[in-house]
């Protein structure tokens, strides 16, 4: 297959956005009849590459050749017309329309000027039969599972005589059986000669389905490899971009010994906590004064674990004990009452209240815990807010400025302050240093160390391994929505080993009790 001519060649693609170089001189080829995985960390340029291919963005430099012709699509519709179809992560079908209507929306076969509904249904049935799917095409899409919806989206994509099918994280909301069903169809389409571009964060899936892998990092091409010649560990190295043997040893700060910390009853102990479609059953104990790092690639289930700890999502199964007593963390109020705080990774949507002032954003959690009748006296507010504006060097140091006017790093600090004011016993920090400048990053790291020295437990999530290694006493490794290992962060653990665990998931596990 690979010796035939590529159906798609992208050469020297560059694309910049104001202040960011999203793609720089990237080459990419796609052959008919292959499944080609596009890999890279968040922000590596995968989605930008897909978007310049389908014409969502124009390109600054470079050439795209489809078949024999140079192309520059004006948008996804035109791209689809030329045989490059995309199925996005969040299935973008109209849930209230029927399966058949969804497949043919915008290009319904017509007769005498009116939509030829019988033909629509007949062709929809034929398409779905091709995908080995026997469902009622007149039923609304919403009545089917996500997996089936995904198939319907694929059916719509391939009906336009697709040569290239782009699947952008199609499996992120599917369970194992549904993934299998999708893979069967992908193999079938591949065997029919369609070139499939597959984007996913699940390493296992890449090795099960992909013939070839292209890795991007920071907007540049790392390389193109046949899957068989690229072991998982090497793939992770290439994505993260540190050669394992040249990786510096991270300086250990003098920290309390884990053994001393883990004497006595853990502050929180969860066992076999799980939520369908989010994270497989996991167990974790967190002691006072302990920093527990959660490592793993994006989409590996880190955030999902954090949300279960805070009750932001409800666990389907599993038990929770707080200070040795059985407890329930079914909603944020319960978690807060147990002394847990949570800084979401999604600062804008789940963190700040943009209209409210710095002061109000800071005292919000404490005020919520007190109830609205017991307003925090103004003088107490001033004390607290001034203290944390100083302690976290929030700028501008104006408590009455709407928080939306602050920079990302300062907004993050305001959120930190919101939880620190409540004096939590466990603080969950989900990517607290993402998207903020290096100075603020260092300050937040320093703060985590101080807090844990002061006896606070911290669950620390970061995509940056160095950070996790520097701060954590122990590290739980997430991989494909499973907690695959607990590592004690002692001298034997380094980025090398964590990366291996992320890549293979088969490192020896250690009990930490």
């Amino acid at each position: 297959m690979t010796d035939s001519r590529p159906v798609l060649t992208m050469t020297g693609i560059s694309k910049s956005f104001p202040g960011v170089r999203a793609l720089h001189d990237v080459d990419f080829r796609l052959f008919p009849g292959e499944v080609h995985a596009l890999m890279g960390e968040n922000g590596a340029g995968k989605s930008t590459l897909i978007k310049v291919l389908t014409g969502v963005y124009g390109i600054d430099e470079g050439v795209i050749i489809l078949g024999d012709e140079q192309v520059a699509f004006s948008g996804p519709m035109q791209a689809a017309g030329a045989g490059v179809s995309t199925v996005y992560q969040e299935v973008n079908l109209c849930p209230n329309l029927s399966v058949a209507e969804n497949i043919f929306i915008g290009r319904e076969p017509r007769r005498f000027g009116a939509v030829h509904w019988a033909e629509v249904r007949r062709r929809a049935r034929a398409l779905l039969t091709r995908l080995d799917l026997d469902i009622d095409v007149t039923a609304p899409v919403a009545s089917y599972s996500l997996a089936v919806q995904q198939m319907v989206a694929i059916a719509r994509a391939i009906d336009v005589r697709a040569q290239v099918l782009i699947l952008d994280e199609p499996t992120s909301s599917l369970d194992a059986g549904e993934v299998e069903q999708l893979f069967r169809i992908m193999r079938q389409l591949r065997d029919e000669g369609i070139a499939i571009l597959f984007v996913t964060h699940f390493l296992d899936q890449v090795y099960r389905i992909a013939d070839r892998i292209t890795v991007l990092r920071n907007g540049t091409l790392v390389g193109e490899y046949p899957t068989a010649e690229l072991p998982q560990l090497a793939l992770v190295e290439k994505m993260i971009g540190k050669d394992l043997d040249v990786l510096e040893r991270i300086e250990e700060q003098p920290r309390p010994e884990l053994a001393t910390l883990e004497e006595g009853t853990p502050f929180v102990e969860v066992s076999q906590l799980s939520r369908r479609g989010a994270v497989a059953p996991f167990s974790l104990t967190i002691h006072a004064g302990e920093v527990v790092g959660l490592a793993g690639l994006l989409g590996s289930g880190r955030t999902e674990v954090a949300r279960l700890f805070f009750g932001a999502d409800r666990a389907d199964h599993g038990d929770v004990a707080v200070s040795g007593e059985p407890a329930s963390l079914r909603n944020p109020v319960q978690a807060i009452n147990q002394g847990i705080g949570f800084c979401s990774e999604n600062r804008r949507a789940e963190g700040i209240i943009p209209d409210l002032t710095v002061r109000e954003n800071m005292i919000l959690a404490m005020q919520a815990a007190r109830g609205w009748l017991r307003r925090i006296p103004r003088r107490r507010q001033d004390e607290l807010v001034d203290k944390y504006i100083k302690a976290l060097s929030i700028r501008p140091a104006n408590p009455d400025m709407p928080v939306r006017n602050l920079s990302g790093g300062n907004q993050q600090k305001v959120l930190l302050a919101r939880w620190l004011i409540t004096e939590p016993r466990l603080l969950i920090l989900d990517e607290p240093t993402r998207g903020i400048d290096i100075g603020a990053k260092a300050e937040i790291q320093k703060l985590v160390v101080q807090l844990s020295d002061g006896g606070m437990a911290v669950l620390f999530i970061s995509a940056e391994l160095e950070e996790v290694l520097r701060l954590s006493h122990k590290i739980a490794v997430m991989r494909d929505r499973e907690m695959v290992a607990h590592l004690v962060n002692d001298d034997t653990v380094d980025a090398d080993r964590v990366m291996q665990t992320i890549a293979t998931g088969t490192q020896r596990e250690e009990a930490n009790q």
Binding site: S344, A349, L364, Q367, A368
Partner: protein, 357 residues
């Protein structure tokens, strides 16, 4: 100091300044047209005059709009307030009309308490639909907006209930300290709500829920309860407004009482600077908004503009008020506006010249 100055400037320059300016411009236009417009005379120890009338007549709208402000701040809307006015008025009047002595003060209070109680139940119904069942506010309250009129008709059995009760009439037309009692009731409600929201943390929590509901949930706020509460408060305000409206005419008309007041209330809230998207709310702005709307209505009548053109006239002024409050519009036309009076001022004047001709 400069910080305080800056705050003052933002406050006056961006929020209350234009509503006040519009109100002043309208009063000025009226005075030019009819020099006696602002005159207040003392009669029987009571103050009389157009400004007093405006205050008295705007009282029900102020009440409804105050409740509406809280609802809108949570990102919702309450279309049922007009119907609740009608229902509460109908219940109170029905009870009073069947009493042996319509002037019995205790009996009137019983009637008010009963009607208020029913309004609270109706508010709770709205609250449950929105916060627990999760129906979109505009649809949830539309149910009661439509069904409530029917309910009011049912209570009055399709008739207009007329009463002859001194104490009840006083709610609309009575006087206290030389001023109409209605003004004090509206003022009292405004102070109560202001204390209720700003002396406690309720106001901030309402704004937080309206500003970012998910973030508020994750901060530990039980947003469902807050949303429920604002619909109950809104219904209570509407009920009191309903008493005033029916007391003004000493009769309950299930069809006409409080008709379209929800639209005027929403308008008052928006003129006052509270965003329909939710978030920050401004009670003082809402009161100004209600006064602007009532002044406009009164001006239209005073200028003998025919009822058909009156609505159009109202629309023009409202658009003008909304436009000059929009930051984007001000930025665009700010340079041209400087040196000339604010847009609404010329427009009543123009109208004024046209009318006699």
């Amino acid at each position: 100091m400069s910080d305080a100055n800056l705050r003052l400037r933002t406050l006056v320059g961006h929020r209350l300044f234009w509503p006040v300016a519009v109100l002043v411009a309208m009063l000025a236009a009226n005075t030019i047209y009819r020099p006696g417009f602002l005159a207040i005379e003392v009669n029987n120890g009571h103050l009389y005059g157009t400004p007093i009338d405006i205050l008295r007549l705007s009282a029900p709208l102020i009440l409804v709009a105050l409740g509406m402000t809280l609802v809108i701040s949570t990102g919702g809307i309450d279309l049922s307030v007009g119907s609740i006015c009608a229902i509460s008025g109908a219940i109170a009047c029905l009870y009073i009309s069947e009493a042996p002595d319509q002037n019995n003060l205790g009996m009137v209070f019983t009637a008010l308490a009963m009607a208020l109680g029913v309004a609270l139940v109706l508010g709770a119904w709205n609250g449950v639909l929105v916060s627990i069942i999760g129906i979109q506010p505009i649809i949830a309250t539309l149910i009661l907006m439509v069904a409530g009129r029917g309910l009011a008709q049912l209570i009055t059995e399709g008739q207009i209930i007329t009463i002859n009760s001194g104490p009840y009439r006083a709610i609309g037309l009575g006087h206290f300290l030389t001023l109409p009692l209605a003004i004090f009731i509206a003022l009292g409600a405004a102070l109560l709500i202001a204390a209720f929201t700003r002396r406690t943390a309720l106001g901030m929590i309402v704004e937080s829920v309206g500003g970012n509901r998910e973030a508020s949930r994750l901060a530990g706020i039980r947003s469902g309860r807050v949303v429920f509460l604002v619909y109950v408060v809104s219904a209570a305000c509407a009920a009191i407004a309903g008493f005033m409206i029916t007391a003004n005419v000493s009769s309950a008309d299930g069809n006409a009482a409080g008709l379209w007041v929800e639209l005027d209330a929403i308008l008052a809230v928006v003129i006052g600077g509270t965003s329909l998207a939710g978030g920050r709310f401004y009670l003082s702005g809402t009161i100004l908004g209600a006064l602007i709307i009532q002044t406009l209505t009164t001006s239209v009548y005073a200028m003998n503009i025919s009822p058909q053109t009156a609505l159009l006239f109202k629309a023009v002024v409202v658009i003008a008020v909304c436009l000059i409050q929009a930051p984007a519009f001000r930025a665009k036309f700010g340079r041209r506006r400087r040196g000339t009076p604010p847009p609404p001022a010329p427009s009543p004047q123009r109208q004024k010249e046209e009318v006699p001709a």
